[in-house]
């Protein structure tokens, strides 16, 4: 290399590195504004908003010109992403402007279909709901919403149904994605949501991915981990998966496991931690206790008989727990899982070594699981036994899929059993508190949980539930064993009202379709995976007669005589009013969300926010204002257990359906980077559609060879429930091992869920989309 070239390269190195400084400038400092300049064009105004897509909650600067969104840029001031987005985030402008955007309500009645002005459509919906309630009682209608609801949308829906109509038929699609994470948190810690925050990514030494493809599903967070590894090459990434993915390619170690055997692997690591003397005895003796519970709990199948109550439990001692877990030797776990015992030992060593800060990460692999609650408990066990929790870079991190499954569904409480801020409908004190804030007689609040999502849809499909309002979600693509539900609904014809932004298979079965305002077409708040509540203002008008989902709900409620519950006039007053009333519930119970005006100014704030200061690590003295001085740690969600976290004894069990001679392949379903969920938004963006135009089935190269299938060949998948013909994808970005296939669910014309099984974790009620049995037939 010549001296000139050498000098040229050094100049480039300096220039590049200097330029990257801007990306780090906003690091972790909400209070000090960096000049927020995107483009010197007075015709374009730029405003902050969180991304519409995943649970990462990246900050976006939205460019508006002439009343339209024309561009976005990464928000360099937002500590979540420091100016970086992923391909979906960069294509946000496109999601608002698909040609077939819904703008006018549609009413389908007596075989006829007509467009209708919004006022009339709302009158019609309210009349029909009133009729149904008069005829069949107040338990006969329901609302089914979403982890993509804003906080305001969820609060309005929950208040309407509980304080207005008087039932607990309030559910959301987060039941299908995060319920096991919730019950995992509640059974271990007594309170929901992670104790760590994204700051952990810059501090951890070992990052373990338990069955999640973080490179595609939380790409911006994954980039933070990659940056961490680049600056400290000793950092290790461990991918525990059932198939190779882009996450595997970036990882240092890969443990490929037999589906469901994660239960055995986690137990084996706990066993090693104990037997090798790596238990943090001080931490365990001061801050933990041990429990066991019923084990014959079934799989939530439709035709299943009675099973033991999965929540019935008793406290045990360390010795009994140790005896239980001692049979999970690495060899035993290896027999079950197919993972070499040496790999299990090596991973256990990383958990056990006090010098290694370990962050465990997971999402759908552990949550969409018929033992989802158990596997969440088991990973917490590893962090509790070693005391690696609630410290920077050291702790378990349950990643959330949707942008506001945390902020709305879990925190506002839009699940049947919940009241805002972690309260329960079946707790008389909690009901009394809600009745006070809502100014309704406490007797009018239904005292028991009524139906979880799968029960709700089973009731719709069998005629027991007569009407439902569905918002911001697409169950006619996402329900497992889809055909059973479609047929039942077609037969019993419940009254279905859907508000959405584009035509979908769900709007197809609706009696009334109401056009909804989307993202920055309305004001709102989301809450992301790290407890950061973020607010955005309305930046552009929605099309035609479209309204925000919360306004639609409130207008229906008013017409049904529940107007007193919503005393705010105008969109801005409504957005602020709903948030501020919800906020009252959160104060003083460890879920304190920030003042609305503080959210407007900041790039979000992580609750509990006390005296304007956010909390980074919960349950740790000095970081969490709820932990008293001298306590070191306090898991105050378990106050009745002495502020101790629970280490649960949970066994390995087999899943309800495994491959056999007739159906010899495992089927897993999931997402891809380019598409969000059922694709209704992202497929309408040309660059994203063209990147992944249609669904396919990933097949192992050897299996493909054996069957004589090449990349792109047609193959039919058949399960006990349905069949689906797909193009084979061989040698793509993901590869399952032999005997397994993977199908993404973004394609409404190739419905993966006609194959899947309606089974769920009996504790969380969350279905398992990752495991059922299929056979492959060459077409």
């Amino acid at each position: 290399m010549t001296a000139n070239r050498r000098e040229f390269l050094k100049r480039m190195a300096a220039a590049w590195t200097g330029a990257s400084f801007a990306a780090l400038a906003g690091c972790g400092d909400d209070q000090q504004p960096v000049s927020q300049a995107i483009l010197d064009d007075p015709g374009v105004t730029w405003s902050k908003a969180p991304c519409r897509f995943c649970g990462t909650g990246c900050g976006v600067m939205v460019g508006v010109r002439d009343g339209k969104v024309v561009a976005v840029a990464g928000d360099q001031q937002n500590p979540v992403n420091l100016g970086l987005l992923c391909v979906k985030g960069y294509h946000l402008p496109g999601i608002l402007y698909g040609e077939d955007r819904l703008a006018m309500p549609v009413i389908r009645e007596n075989g006829d279909e007509r467009e209708s002005p919004m006022e009339e459509a709302l009158d019609y919906v309210a009349d029909r709901f009133k009729q149904i309630v008069d005829e069949h009682g107040k338990e006969s209608i329901a609302v089914y919403g979403s982890g993509q609801w804003t906080i305001q949308d969820g609060y309005a829906a929950s208040k309407w149904m509980r304080a207005g109509v008087g039932n607990n038929n309030v559910e959301a699609n987060a039941r299908l994605c995060m319920a096991s994470a919730v019950t995992g948190f509640l059974t271990t810690f007594g309170k929901d949501e992670p104790m760590g925050c994204y700051d952990d990514f810059e501090q951890g030494d070992v990052f373990v991915f338990w069955g999640n493809n973080m490179a595609e599903m939380h790409p911006v967070l994954f980039s933070r981990i990659l940056a961490r590894k680049k600056s400290v090459p000793a950092v290790q990434l461990v991918d525990i998966g059932t198939r190779r993915t882009r996450t595997t390619e970036a990882s240092d170690h890969y443990l490929e496991f037999e589906p469901n055997s994660d239960l055995a692997i986690a137990n084996a690591i706990a066993r090693e931690i104990i037997e090798q003397g790596w238990v943090n005895e001080d931490f365990v003796s001061k801050h933990c206790l041990f429990k066991k519970a019923s084990e014959d709990i079934g799989y939530g199948l439709r035709d299943e008989g009675a099973k033991q109550n999965p929540m019935a439990n008793e406290q045990i001692g360390f010795e009994e727990y140790r005896r239980f877990v001692s049979k999970y030797t690495p060899e035993y776990a290896s027999e079950i899982s197919g993972v070499p015992a040496s790999q299990i030992r090596d991973l256990a060593k990383l958990y056990g070594d006090p010098r290694q800060k370990v962050v465990s990460l997971w999402c759908m692999g552990m949550n969409q699981h018929t033992r989802g609650t158990w596997i969440n408990n088991l990973v917490y066990n590893l962090h509790l036994l070693t005391g690696k929790i609630s410290q920077p870079g050291n702790g378990p991190f349950s990643l959330t899929g949707q942008p506001s499954a945390c902020g709305t569904v879990r925190e506002v409480g839009t699940l049947t059993q919940a009241l805002p801020a972690g309260r329960r409908v079946d707790n008389p004190e909690h009901r009394a508190y809600a009745a006070k804030i809502w100014d309704v007689p406490v007797e009018s609040l239904a005292p028991k949980p009524s139906m979880h999502t799968m029960a709700m849809f089973r009731n719709l499909a069998t005629g027991k539930l007569k009407g439902v309002l569905i918002q911001v979600t697409n169950p006619m693509v996402t329900l497992p064993d889809l055909n059973w539900f479609k047929e039942g609904i077609a037969k019993h014809k419940p009254f279905i009202v859907v508000s959405d932004v584009y035509p979908t298979p769900t709007t197809e079965v609706a009696d009334v379709v109401l056009p909804a305002a989307m993202w920055v077409e309305r004001e709102g708040c989301f809450g992301n995976s790290e407890r950061r509540t973020q607010q955005w203002n309305q930046l552009v008008d929605p099309p035609g007669e479209a309204l925000p989902d919360s306004t639609i709900t409130v207008e229906i409620a008013r017409r049904m005589g529940h107007g007193k519950l919503f005393p705010w006039e105008g969109e801005e007053a409504l957005a602020r009013g709903l948030y501020e009333e919800y906020r009252e519930f959160t104060i003083g119970v460890g879920k304190d969300v920030a003042l609305y005006d503080d959210l407007k100014r900041a790039r979000g704030l992580r609750w509990p926010v006390v005296d304007g200061v956010e909390t980074r690590w919960r349950y740790a003295e000095g970081s969490d204002p709820y932990v008293p001085a001298g306590a070191e740690f306090a898991f105050y969600g378990n106050h009745s257990l002495g502020d101790r976290a629970v280490i649960w004894q949970r066994p390995y069990q087999e899943p309800p359906e495994s491959p056999d001679d007739e159906y010899p392949f495992w089927l897993a379903t999931g997402r891809v980077l380019e598409h969000w969920h059922t694709g209704s938004m992202t497929r309408r963006v040309p660059q994203l559609h063209q990147a992944q135009p249609k669904a396919y089935v990933e097949i192992n190269q050897e299996d493909a060879r054996t069957m004589g299938l090449s990349d792109g060949a047609s193959v039919k998948l058949v399960s006990r429930r349905g069949e689906l013909t797909l193009d084979a994808r061989v040698g793509g970005r993901g590869e399952p091992p032999t005997g397994r296939v993977f199908v993404p669910f973004f394609d409404e014309s190739l419905l993966a869920n006609v194959l899947t099984l309606d089974a769920h974790c009996p504790i969380s009620k969350q279905p398992d989309y990752k495991k059922c049995a299929v056979r492959l037939e060459k077409v």
């Binding site: 070239r5 040229f8 480039m12 220039a15 590049w16 590195t17 330029a19 990257s20 801007a22 000049s35 300049a37 995107i38 483009l39 010197d40 374009v44 460019g63 010109r65 339209k68 024309v70 561009a71 976005v72 840029a73 360099q76 100016g83 970086l84 987005l85 391909v87 960069y90 294509h91 402008p93 496109g94 402007y97 698909g98 040609e99 955007r101 490179a215 790409p219 911006v220 994954f222 980039s223 990659l226 940056a227 680049k230 882009r246 390619e249 970036a250 980077l673 497929r683 309408r684 963006v685 040309p686 660059q687 994203l688 559609h689 063209q690 990147a691 135009p693 040698g731 970005r733 590869e735």
Partner: protein, 172 residues
Amino acid sequence: MRAACVVPALLLAVSCGGGSDLALYDPGALTSRAQLLDARRETRAYDGAPPVIPHEVDARGRQNCNSCHTPGATDNPARVGPPRSHPAWGDCRQCHVEQLARDRFTGSNLDALWWPASGSRLYSSAPPTIPHALQNRQLCEVCHIGEQAPLALRASHGPRDNCTQCHVGGTR
């Protein structure tokens, strides 16, 4: 306003070791700025969006994008790999995606933001202002200086060390 799905006749069918019929355009061959900017618009949703990958890539494994797309990656000007205009993030394909199809799921009414072709000048020989955003584009030399820069965008004067001493704008 240009519709997003018009395919300009200027795209050349140059392939990058894959024989793909999704064409790659050769910015070196486009001498007019207007042509170059038209061709650029075909590969992105709006100005500021990450361009799509206009050539085939190996779906498997971690392709080393850097081997062609780092400034100074090669001394050979015949290897046309637009250098990265932003610092190295960890995962190229988190933002830049291949295109496996040419059709549409639905039409799009996106009114995309396109930067003006050139900045303004106070008088005819004044240094033009910067007409584009600087986020992810702080390295002027990558597009504007030296042999790596497309002819149509190459600076009329030799490399100087501090572009923004004379060229202002881009961001306030």
